[in-house]
Symmetry: C2
Subunit: 157 residues, 2 copies
């Protein structure tokens, strides 16, 4: 992967706030919108979801998920030149009070300060998605398969 | 569903150009970025994809898909107030020359004129997604389950 594609990926993962989460739902794929924040080294991605939401029930049953993050549509003539990455991973619930919970909450609130009240409700919880691999399309016909190690390397860009 | 939520949904389905497509990939969910255009009456949604793409291979094996369309992030304080809809459906390949193919191609090209050259390549093809149902979040904590009939009704807004 060339340096510019690496920089574009790092930039996108740090600046975009929303992702499309894919889960197994009643034996069919479900895609829903979630807010996310990456770990500084891209070794994990954190989402904050309601236990009442379908995707949360899905993750409780099957931890296999996919998180797709794309550049915002800027109304360019050909939107397929937008960069996007599909991260395949395993989802894991973070229990409030467990070691590591507070730094993740701090990281999440730095990006989404408005969600502070949701942390006081019992409904919402933080989940950690650990990447198993990713497919990165850095524009039209420029595709890369990434390992978790490559994602970590890209976080230095 | 209130009239304003219906109007918002109709507007979003007509104006947003990109969707997150969920498919089954090697027995795990995959989410990828696709361009789409709705039928005028929202009875179907059409996508134009490369047969080399993972999602196309997935749809050839299992027609169950989910298409998530969301408002663009406008940097509002709380992005979970953005509207989004997850459409559960069945995908079907449209063979060039079959009845109904040309009107769909015309509809697609009206929205994506830049993709005209892709129709001359053998790689790209049109797929029809017929909704089986949808989950519509018209902002924070405002969720509706929609039938295909409701989607059709909403197309009059």
């Amino acid at each position: 992967m060339d340096v510019n594609s690496e920089k574009l990926l790092a930039c996108m993962l740090r600046e975009i706030r929303l992702a499309a989460l894919g889960t197994f739902h009643d034996n069919a794929p479900l895609v829903s919108l979630v807010t996310f924040v990456p770990a500084d080294d891209f070794s994990a991605f954190y989402i904050h979801v309601s236990r009442l939401a379908q995707h949360t029930v899905d993750m409780q049953k099957d931890k296999r998920v996919n998180l797709m993050i794309s550049e915002k549509d800027d109304d360019r003539p050909d939107p397929l030149t937008l960069a996007r990455v599909s991260i395949r991973g395993a989802a894991e619930f973070l229990t409030p009070g467990e070691p590591g919970y507070t730094p993740v909450k701090t990281l999440y609130l730095a990006r989404f300060p408005e969600s502070e009240p949701l942390f006081k409700l019992g409904d919402f919880g933080l989940w950690k998605i650990t990447p198993r691999g990713a497919r990165y399309i850095a524009g039209f016909a420029k595709a890369y398969n990434l390992t978790p190690e490559t994602l970590i390397k890209v976080s230095n860009r």
